[in-house]
Symmetry: C2
Subunit: 463 residues, 2 copies
Amino acid sequence: MTGNEALVQVLRNALGKDGVRTDPDVTASYSRDMMPLAPVGRPLAVVFPADTEQVRAVVRACAAAGVPIVPRGAGSGLSGAANAIDGCVVLVTTRMNEILEIDPDNRLAVVEPGVVNLDLRGAVEKHGLFYPPDPSSYDWCTIGGNLSTNAGGLCCVKYGVTTDSVLGLEVVLADGSLLKTGRRTVKGVAGYDLTKLFVGSEGTLGVITKAVLALRPLPQAPATLVAAFGNTADAGTAVTRIVREGVVPSLMEIMDSVSIKAVEQHLRTEVGPPGCEALLLCQSDSGGEAARRELEAIEQACKASGADMTYVTEDLAEGQMLLTARRAVLTALEVYGAWLTDDVCVPRTAITDLIAGCAEIGARRQVKIAVCGHAGDGNMHPTLVYDPNSAEEFERARIAFDEILELGLSLGGTVTGEHGVGKIKREWLAREIGPVGLAVHRSIKAALDPGNLFNPGSMFGVA
Amino acid sequence: MTGNEALVQVLRNALGKDGVRTDPDVTASYSRDMMPLAPVGRPLAVVFPADTEQVRAVVRACAAAGVPIVPRGAGSGLSGAANAIDGCVVLVTTRMNEILEIDPDNRLAVVEPGVVNLDLRGAVEKHGLFYPPDPSSYDWCTIGGNLSTNAGGLCCVKYGVTTDSVLGLEVVLADGSLLKTGRRTVKGVAGYDLTKLFVGSEGTLGVITKAVLALRPLPQAPATLVAAFGNTADAGTAVTRIVREGVVPSLMEIMDSVSIKAVEQHLRTEVGPPGCEALLLCQSDSGGEAARRELEAIEQACKASGADMTYVTEDLAEGQMLLTARRAVLTALEVYGAWLTDDVCVPRTAITDLIAGCAEIGARRQVKIAVCGHAGDGNMHPTLVYDPNSAEEFERARIAFDEILELGLSLGGTVTGEHGVGKIKREWLAREIGPVGLAVHRSIKAALDPGNLFNPGSMFGVA
């Protein structure tokens, strides 16, 4: 029996036969997330632990065998962080999908990592509560994945990212020990903020097996505003004015002309007036007079910035319909080819420059680039379209992808606003944080995972 | 020349004569914060660097000499974290007090650590902006101290603690290198969240020399509600009802009967109706109809929980006056003796049990204990009064202090909600986080500060 066979046997003993899969069809289907640029390895096995003790058994067995572990949830990620490396064990948390507790009086929930974001949203809504983080994949991504990537979404402009909704974690460390971080109270400063260190660590420091999440009161039904602009710069100016006015909408999304045209073609309807080159979509969930006041201020800012058209509705269904255009962008782009979505976050004053720069890169590299994103927090998703059957076109898309990151950094931004570093932006992380930052990352990794067991080579390599 | 004399000479060369003080009067005055329980050592020297390069020079010199550094700001802390240890160099950041930038369009400020919280609040207010963290000492504490302790305040119930307002840091590490963490953008997930690791690390990992802070739009002028209860349990029930109603006030403070009586004696006026055993003070800064709606819901919850009296005012000056009672508690207690304030945070449903438990401990230990605190987030400050000339009474207060922490933990809480661990709660931290948590703390400390240069023995000891 080889070492690998022995490891698989140990895993089977611990998890049962159906908890360990080694057939290539199955392992291949769990070997990658949604990012086409990232390298993909061949796992030795895929394991589906059912509880924390089984996770600990997997960690101990792999540590003893010197076989790396790549943890993952649903695989909706966009950085390749969950992609397998050759010979690894992929640890899938989707069987650990229980909502263990909802405590309305303390506004918190305790969940296992495999709970689907939408399921948690639905469960807490019954108690009049709200779990804000809403990545685009919220109907299938898992809380564990959201925690590992510090996922964002449309809500962030008002409610922050995942880390802002986490009170505490349970994490299996590289030696199999069980770490509890944080607390069940709203505040607490006992020791280092290990909770927020593990959130966003992309599976490189341990396996999250439980989370205590902070909930908010369910907001009011949102009122919606849409504004159309004859050029992107005016839409960018409107964003700056809205920020300066002191309005905090619950959603503020922007679409450039490429996004608009793709959606119009896809939905076979006009989503803006003739000559519309940029759309701004905003919501307020403050309710009643407060929402009206906020949207009025936003409308004024849009008009003062040269909007050709503004429209406000308090009707929920109509508001949802207006958002359809934004939500349809990625699907709509598929009429042109496969897509590759980037993720830069720039100061809110630099959104116009980013969109203009993307247009320039697209023209120079002859790649169609649609820019849409979360204007309220400057987190933009330039999305490149390429012919999946043309290696040459894919290569041009890859170059444009990097040039967009370069542009984002030059505008004072970051190379990832919410998707993460994973296996595609290692060099960019190194560039953004510099040698001292990288050395600190490596020293923390070495302190918590000296054998480089968890997701090795993702985010950054060892020195 | 001894090694110490040589070090002082190196420091003088780097900082100039008035940047380094060794006269015992001066060093003694910089050797402690506001916590009477914490041990105090005798510093070798107190240094006042004027910029980042001078901080680096101090760190390099002390590292080379093997002399520990205790960083501090104004010294308003309540955990002894800033207390000197024998033979250390106390590094005071108060000379680095420049607001380097206010960017209203991106709602951020860049500051040096010695900026006083109130000065920053005032400066950003001129731009219609708001820096939420408001510890009680906001008129003299520094941002650097706030960052190191992850300070809270009255605002937390709606706006979170310091870490929620920090985008990035510049930190001098133990080897003198300069780490930049975080970013200037609203969102960003490039690498580990080092920013939030350094926030609240109480000077044990490095010296913060610059911070990029997130600002919010200035809220509306607050409307205020005060509710009086005939017993504490009813006030606790009201808090639970308010939380369950989904209201998020901008302030929600509670005072027990001991606090009320002390303040009445101090201010020579009644602050509640006859028989008032607990007061709840709430504000809404949502403005207009929204504020009225929130305070109405709070008033209803108070009445339904048995409040004897409720009073609401939209008048700003009157609201401030109503808060005077809360702000006067510590000063008022000084008529009885010296005070020692504790800091536990419990689930919001456990506030009543905490107050009742403190009354029991006070009776048993014959120590007067006034409980007031941030009811909205469960962060309570039981404050013990003792005769500073009686070692025996001080000892009883010390025992009661610990029994309150014990009680807080037993109620599912944490041993520090906002003051920190410092040099008084090391054993309590170890107890709260357990051996695995402590081992992780030590490994991170060893990774970033292998020579144990920064604030050694504070928060936790090396193994």
